[in-house]
Symmetry: C2
Subunit: 457 residues, 2 copies
């Protein structure tokens, strides 16, 4: 029999996502609306986390068309679908065992897709070699990260494996580290310098969002000197939009730093189908590339992935389409390109628009974003709110989000969920949403915020 006292102590120690309280409140408000309770808004808009399709962004047609044919191969004969869609589906079905997406694949992913990913990485990194055997596909990049963390977890107390983690960090991270049994070792990024790191804390500068060549080199030298494994979240490599900024991978920089570094520094780079342009969160697929990892260690990555048996095939096939899109001349090329450009333009324009709008509000300040899909503006809250939060035993940023949700039906994240501990208050909003949704959010947010600042001068 199992009762609370029998639950694995490690599992009991997993911190619940700080997000879950606000999620319950959002569900409650939504339910009230469904039950006919009168509200000054028709629906809750949730842009607290990165879920582009939920927010109304459209999927890439090419990806969906190919997957539809793979699921129902009779569509191979459907002439209303572009020829390259059908040829691509046929090719992908050929690499599925038994010609069906219903068959298991290797635990580490389909060899064909791993090869496509390795070729994509080589093109991206201007020729730096990549091998399919170092590419591991999993049901989302978080699952891949989990495998690496569990692999390296050991010790207790002072000897426990630690993960140097920036603050702010992704709001899903602390639950993951707890479950893996590793310690979160935080370092604070500095907001007033565009979220750069405090040099005295990490000895080297690194910039949040988009790092330039020089700062990546510094991080690599730091890792080499301290013999650290670099876990690199590169899921937003398709969404860099800061002026004059382009995506540069850590691996590319590493291999230009010469043999001293390129043959030595160990890296795990993560990418995901949930990334900005695809936004296919529900299909659950991501991959990681291991760089300079000891083959004996890599072996255990395989072993760990075996317990998942196989990652979802529709997701794996979509990864193949993500890294190997239509080429110029293909029937789907123009539509595909237009759709991608539209997403990138929406993201870049939204980043600019939200940044300026929020900075103009009294009691709010925002750093410009150069990449990724979040803004992280700071709240300068009236002391009355902060006192009120103390009485209610809730973090002031969370109280702000609760009130915003109840009064205006806008669901944003609170900075404390991203590990903020400086005593400052922040909001987190996903900006990969249709432009009119963003306008609606900003209008509701301004209305609430100005009311709040008015009543608590």
């Amino acid at each position: 029999m199992s009762s609370l006292q029998h639950v694995n102590p490690t599992v009991k120690g997993i911190r619940e996502s700080a997000h879950s309280g606000l999620q319950s409140l959002a569900a409650h408000v939504t339910q009230e609306i469904a039950q006919g309770v009168q509200k000054p808004f028709k629906e809750v808009i949730d842009i607290s986390s990165g879920d582009p399709h939920k927010a109304g962004m459209k999927p890439i047609s090419f990806v969906r068309q190919v997957l539809a044919v793979c699921l129902h191969p009779e569509l191979l004969g459907n002439k209303t679908l572009p020829l390259d869609v059908r040829l691509r589906a046929q090719r992908l079905l050929e690499v599925c065992d038994g010609g069906s997406v219903g068959s298991y694949t290797d635990s580490s992913g389909m060899p064909h897709v791993r090869q496509s990913i390795a070729e994509f990485i080589m093109r991206r990194d201007v020729g730096v070699h990549s091998h399919a055997k170092d590419v591991f596909i999993s049901a989302g990049s978080q699952r891949g990260l989990m495998v690496i963390l569990k692999l390296l977890a050991s010790g207790e107390g002072d000897t426990q494996t630690g993960v140097l983690t920036p603050r702010p960090c992704p709001h899903t991270l602390s639950t993951l580290l707890d479950d893996a049994g590793v310690a979160l070792v935080p370092y604070q990024l500095m907001e007033d310098r565009g979220w750069a790191v405090d040099l005295s804390e990490l000895h080297r500068a690194l910039k949040c969002h988009v790092q330039d060549w020089k700062s990546i080199e510094e991080v690599i030298r730091f890792a080499a000197a301290e013999r650290l494994l670099l876990l690199i979240d590169e899921v937003y490599q398709d969404s860099v939009y800061g002026q004059g900024k382009e995506f540069i991978s850590f691996k590319r920089v590493l291999f230009e730093m010469g043999k001293e570094y390129s043959g030595k520094v160990q890296m795990v780079s993560l990418h995901s189908l949930s990334s900005a342009c695809m936004g296919e969160c529900g299909l659950r697929a991501g991959y990681m590339e291991l760089v300079n990892m000891d083959p004996e260690v890599t072996h255990f990555v395989d072993t760990m992935l075996c317990t998942d048996i196989s990652s979802p095939v529709t997701g794996q096939l979509a990864l193949d389409l993500m890294v190997n899109p239509p080429r110029p001349g293909d029937p789907s090329y123009d539509t595909y390109t237009q759709e991608i450009l539209h997403i990138q333009a929406t993201l870049s324009q939204n980043a600019q628009r939200a940044h300026e709008f929020l900075n103009d509000l009294p009691g709010m300040s925002s750093q410009p974003a150069k990449g990724g899909i979040y803004l992280y503006p700071r709240l300068h809250l009236p002391s009355e709110i902060i006192e009120n939060a103390k009485k209610l035993e809730v973090e002031a940023g969370v109280l702000y989000c609760q009130m915003l949700l109840k009064e205006e039906g806008v669901f944003l994240g609170a900075g404390c969920q991203n590990g903020e501990t400086t005593g400052n208050h922040y909001l987190r909003l996903c900006i990969l949403v249709p432009a009119d949704t963003l306008e609606e959010v900003l209008a509701r947010l301004a209305s609430f915020h100005l009311r709040l600042m008015d009543t608590c001068p």
Copy 2:
């Protein structure tokens, strides 16, 4: 930096699947054929594990059609697809956030699908109540089992959580238990009594494959007396074919045993989209129903599933279709019913055919199967083979499988992979394959086996 010495000791202790050696050999033989090496066979037939589509079984059209429309909603207007397919897809898209399968879902599964599953269970168990809140969807039933095992894992040595496990057991189980950190506590099933349990070992009889009402009651009484949590693999509930046998769930029996048991005995029942009739292994979806679980414990199931963020949406939607198929009068009803009946008939006829064929071979004996998708015949090997295996330091059953693979291109599993430790030797073959594939396997197997028995009299 991570090298072998830094790898988590628990991870290092995970036993590799005994299956992986034969898998490598099969891959090697397949590669040789591709390279033009002459063999007496054209391809390797792998029926060592349950992967029906890989073996040539066809998917259920209704499931694939609905999923294709969900992925590419323009197909909603395609009149060549049955009306109920399009209506069902429309309904499922309505319950996806943002109307897209690309959105995340709750970590425990989509509320709509959990509700469909609870209703299916109630129909199946003739009215015994089932609640959506006790149903948890995961990326395959093995993932669900893993969550429960990790939840209950604690202690070391004598106090380590143990799982009473039948031998033979599923060949993927030992890796899973190692990763979860629980001990495998085996009990031996008795072949000559149709794989029944040795009473002196477990104090109660339980029968492998298909248990009747009385033997289920005995297991439940045993669990109640010993205060054990029952982990019930009911993934083959749609594939019971023994004469006069029908599927009876543990939960149904429990609730007919009166309040003394029905309010007390804790159960976790697992079911999967990879089950016999659907065979959709690659879509990765399964569910578990928790019965009589302490809500405080259930809470941690939620927490654990949070680290997966969300299970694959195409799989979740397919689960909805599995538990809620077309009804009489629906345009897809006849085709659906024919396809299901064809699969069940193939399975039942194959079970009979393979059992009789294998029993007729000298040095082989087989128990009849009454459900599930495997046969597990015993090998009575000549002493020469057993000596040879000892010299080669390989289990004799594995040696047999290696030779069969090399000489005839047939890949079967070896009983030692199922935890067999009695010193007897067994084969494992999946019988959910097209009838002509089974014939080809039996012919090649007989040819090899008779040659072996001839040369080693």
